[in-house]
Amino acid sequence: MNYQNEQLREALAAQYVLGTLRGSARLRFERWLNQDPDLQNRTGYWEQALQPLADQVVPVQPPSRVWTSIQTRLGMQASLPGKSQATSRLHWLRGAWVSFGLAALLVAVLVFGPAEEVTRFTPDIEVALQNELAQPVWKVDADSSKDTVVVSTVRNVRLPDDKSLELWLVLESGEPPISLGLMPTEQGRKYVVKSSTPLREGIGFAVSLEPRGGSPTGVATGPILYIQTYRET
């Protein structure tokens, strides 16, 4: 490939950063990048320019084993002064309850069926989230064999423009809940999400009120408006 053509250099740098430069072309570009300050500048420009897209991604707290592995790989002692990970189950949640003093608005209907090994989406967890007038707002169906959750909006939800509702998987381990993304608010809208954490490791779903776009920290920052377990804790 001709790396002298300026337009081509610019396009390759941009697509390298974007991620659409793939395969052998990507590897070839990386080799050139190491020895070519002009390509480094162009790549740096695009990294900075597109960074706001990465800044919008909802953060997720990694499990503590990642830090342990990093220390091990770098030959560091694992006894560095660190924060204790020991926390009672649902401690985060009690904190949220106490600090926001909110009562649950929720009446849930729960159906727990047998999990089957089928290829179609077959919900074995069904939860209805209702408002304070006992009107159903969302139906949350989950297929724990496929770790897939489908949220259906039964009625319109009115929210201030600067707020979003975020869905969380509450974990059995007591670790902070895992974000499953933002709840749809328009009647008829469905939201399908594949959980990166097995649903069997979860004990329930929670919905929190967050700044628009979701929690900026990766853990619920706003009041928990709805919570429903699907397993005894």
Binding site: Q15, L18, A54, L80, G218
Partner: protein
């Protein structure tokens, strides 16, 4: 309690603070490295998860990224890039490398529409990022969607073509022209 006083997202963390931590990391200060990890890992893990869709792979990418960050801390140049951009790039490129080696497990059609970046609330962007937001607005919808899906979710040209049910050549041209227009707009 670990998570209430939890690592802030580095969108809001002071860049200056991160620079100091990275400089101390370059001097092999392990406590600084751990603090850097605490401050930035939730965001970087989120970024890796969006690209890889699989928790175990994202954990591996995050590990690899921080091993590199420790090793390359001395090469960081503050006049070339902000710390969060430098760290995000290391993580994204590692995740993209892993994506190449392992086919993604999640069928693309199961990906949630409602976590598409443009719907995720541009309000989260800091004021200094408003330029990209405005320039993204100027693009055609298809160009904007392709660029966001490629950058945030690691979609290849082919995956975009499949998802949008559009010929490969058209997708490539949307992206190429979209990036050109983005740069023209940003440099105005």
């Amino acid at each position: 309690m670990l998570w209430i006083s939890c690592p802030r997202n580095f969108v809001v963390a002071e860049n200056q603070q991160l620079e100091q931590l990275l400089a101390r990391t370059a001097l092999r200060d392990r406590a600084a490295f751990q603090q850097l990890y605490n401050l930035t890992s939730p965001h970087l893990f989120g970024v890796a998860l969006r690209i890889l869709h699989t928790r175990s792979l994202a954990e591996e990418a995050l590990q690899d990224a921080f091993v590199q960050i420790w090793q390359k801390a001395g090469e960081y140049r503050a006049d070339k890039a902000q710390v969060n951009t430098w760290m995000t790039s290391i993580t994204r490129y590692r995740a993209l490398d892993m994506l190449r080696k392992s086919a993604r497990e999640t069928p693309l059609e199961e990906l949630p529409d409602s976590v598409m970046p443009e719907q995720q609330g541009a309000q989260m962007m800091a004021a200094e990022n408003a330029d990209l937001e405005l320039c993204m607005e100027e693009l055609q919808n298809e160009q904007r969607e392709c660029i966001a899906l490629a950058y945030v979710d690691g979609y290849s040209h082919q995956e975009l073509s499949d998802r949008l049910d559009t010929p490969l050549g058209t997708v490539k041209s949307w992206i190429r022209r979209g990036l050109q227009q983005l740069k023209e707009c940003l440099q105005r």
